[in-house]
Symmetry: D2
Subunit: 290 residues, 4 copies
């Protein structure tokens, strides 16, 4: 059947964590072999205290004996045996990503450019903002743009609408592309480990506002940017990616802001790439990026 063929001609991505024990890789790779999968990529890790085993396997299902729609059910007994947390995603289901922005365009521009270059295997069904400034970019890319102005008074109400919109759009994860609002715990908990932020410093240095001003005043010789999952503790969530750039005494705060834009763009773009390829596992305050 053509439908089944097409459903099977996809890649599967397993993310899997469990308490460490012998034989996990053997049994899981045996499962894949028996279902007719062809492993493309495999990476595993046992953390420092030897307790937390994690695994990512990507395999091609073009000759799979089990259709994608039945793979979860087929895999479940094995996962239960290891008391695992796991997910299997398929390349024929593109993850649906919502971008949040305020007034700065550089991170959004970067993401849209890569999206249009087909660097990401995702869909961007919606862009959400507290300001109208970047609507033209959404429009030029044919993406709906929703504006929710935020004040102290209306924040809870507006966030509720945003959450409803995200559910309506069936959003898999959220990217804050220099979105200049702190999300409430309700919002964060509704998308646990599914909200990626970019902070314009090398965390844990310079949390909070005006990190480039802080960096200038401290006299650091390099500036950085950090992409992390959003948790209730501001700028404390698990770090996905960081990068830095050398500066000198000649750079003013304005120079740091200008140069930092390049870091913010590239670091957020990489983090989004890792997430879109199902490469990230959160282990407490840390991430494993396979």
């Amino acid at each position: 059947m053509i439908t089944i063929m097409s459903e099977n001609n996809v890649n599967a991505y397993l993310l899997f964590t469990c308490p460490d024990q012998n034989g996990i890789v053997a049994k899981i790779t045996q499962f894949i072999y028996e279902t007719g999968g062809n492993i493309i990529d495999l990476d595993e890790h046992v953390n420092q205290n030897q307790q937390f085993f994690s695994l990512r396997i990507a395999w091609n299902m073009s000759k799979s004996k089990v259709p994608a729609s039945e793979l979860h059910e087929a895999f479940e007994p094995l996962a239960k045996q290891f008391d695992a947390h796991w997910s299997i995603e398929f390349s024929h289901h593109k993850q649906r990503v919502a971008i949040f922005v305020s007034k700065y365009d550089h991170c959004l521009q970067e993401i849209l450019w890569r999206f249009n270059m087909n660097e990401y295997d995702i869909e961007i069904p919606v862009i959400i903002s507290n300001h109208p400034d970047l609507e033209h970019l959404a429009e030029a890319n044919g993406i709906p743009y929703h504006i929710f102005p935020i004040t102290k008074e209306n924040k809870q109400e507006q966030e509720a609408k945003e959450i409803a919109l995200l559910k309506e759009y069936n959003i898999d994860f959220v990217v804050l592309a220099r979105y200049m609002q702190v999300l409430s715990p309700q919002f964060i908990n509704a998308f646990k480990n599914k909200i990626i932020n970019i902070h314009h410093s090398f965390l844990p240095g310079f949390v909070g506002g005006n990190p480039y001003k802080q960096a200038y005043e401290r006299g650091v010789k390099m500036i950085g940017a950090t992409s992390h999952f959003v948790t209730e503790d501001l700028d404390e969530g698990p770090i996905i990616e960081q990068d830095i750039m050398r500066i000198t005494h000649k750079d003013t705060i304005k120079d740091l802001i200008r140069k930092g834009r390049d870091l913010e763009r590239i670091v957020l773009a990489r983090a989004l790439g890792y997430k879109s390829e199902h490469r990230i596992i959160v282990d407490g305050t840390r991430t494993i990026v396979f």
Copy 2:
């Protein structure tokens, strides 16, 4: 028996390549599981043209049902099934490394310092040179130092002696730590993919002599260093590791030589580390560094 216990309380390192097919990882990890091994690290790769499968697995044998001395025999049938090239090394056999030097001390110093810090799980039973200059360093570290002055006339003869000495010392691989002689094909073939060199440029740029002078004259904005396996084609062997450093118009050739020393030290040190941890597979003109 104490001897057997001790023999088993080791790590095994498998390097394995074969034509790609399904089920390789499943069968090999099943073998390790059945022999009581506990996988520490696993990395695999299929090359771009989808033909060449390569795999590295490190596992702990403390609960192994098969002693290290019998593991090769036990594994061989599986390897034959996949028509594989493979090796299994054990942590209780420290690789024996010979260092070749001439007059520059920086690479030798770096290796000896790391060796003394226990960064490498190797033995350095001998240092060989065409000059007496660095004998004091060998002496201070209690390592025999053999001098073989090389001229056009005596080259073949001296190399024959060196090869004999390397065999006598049971050398596993050779590191050329700024050894300023071109090795003959006979020597190279006697240690195929077992001679690691450091070249003081970002290959393939600036092959041959005086690469810093070449770099200065070309006006590059970065200099580099490259560690590679030695083949008959000068500076053309498979690259193991490279790194670079930013320079400016202010740097003279003398500055490049001085700054480049830092690159040479670190790049060769890393390459030696990868080799000592059984991480390198040669795939034609390329290396896979797991």
Copy 3:
């Protein structure tokens, strides 16, 4: 007079080279002091063989006693005294830059984004291409887009038209933003040291076509990009800026092309920035970037 005030409320940029001798800096800074200039930035360099002195000074003219329009004449006697090559540019004359493109959009996008962010103090009066593909980008930015399809037969004729167009637009320098045509010596000599190219390798490695394929096959561990002035010798012109990115055996040629785009963008963007700020002096096969 308002006109004169405005003409004077500008920065001047001196680029100056001459045979080295004592007292050059003293006399030139004395000149600036006496004309009422306030030095913002000063950088000088004497090359390795101690023959070639070069200097860049930026100064503010808001309190200048000599109007910008008379500064050349006022400075000339001093320059003659040192037998110098020199230029003085003013911030109220924005350099006029022509961008050449073919089908790839990433370098053009990057330049236009920075241009719109006011990172460059330039004008882009025209974009020229041998293909119609990127016309929409020019249009969206309100920049005229001229198409000159090139064949072996019409090359000379088309280039003549291009040169005429550049003169008509009063172009100060040209940026080849992945323009996929080799320029003829006539074209190059008409704009000596005024054509900036981006080559997608770490020169001098991998000159010519398909550098990412060459890089893959050589098995380098880092890829690079190089921006340079165009000379008659392909990929041999004075290098302005380079950067690199680490890769691994996992990266296919397709990955290198994708990752390399980020390098090409940033390296060309930096080179254009240096040129637009009058920071580059060509010293034979090398550049001095102040």
Copy 4:
């Protein structure tokens, strides 16, 4: 006169700061020109708020009409005119550096190796430690090694002896090469902006003890090292140099310690180099490194 000739055949290094005004560079370079000096290197900077002018000039005195011994007096009137802080050092007076260590050898080894390679134009007349562990290294390099064990009770007394020893040895500045004691305010004030420390994190992240453990637990994707002047506020002094290294989830705390050693070595070595070449000016909480 041979004595005067030899005294004059040296380089002079001026470090100069004052409130910004016009004509400073003109007058100082005129002074150098008139005394027969030949400028080798000149770099100047006006800080962001346009108040603080700083300047470094290196010039050769081989044809100087004023002997080095009289240059201070000759320059003083000019300096007074600008209300400047300034110093002139000469290449025939090698700065005298004391190294403080505890038990880790890597930073000391690095400094001694570079010192022996003549990378630094300094003298190291004494090494001071609170432990006997590294005496063999001092001995092998023919440098006196003084041990001052520190306890809470004897700290004040021992530091007094150390200060006396430093004065006796005529020490110009101090390098803490992983010296594991916090210096008292008395000690610090006796050598204001003359004590260089290496901290094993990318400051301001991870101040205080166990920064690699802190880094592991925070899950950063890069580790760093920072060299700074010591002030009374722990790890808060003006930063001279920083660098970073990429890590992954695979790195244990032990790996971070091992990898971090390479950063600590190189960052401290660079900071020492800048200081030895009279390149550093302290501007409040920041440094200018010319």
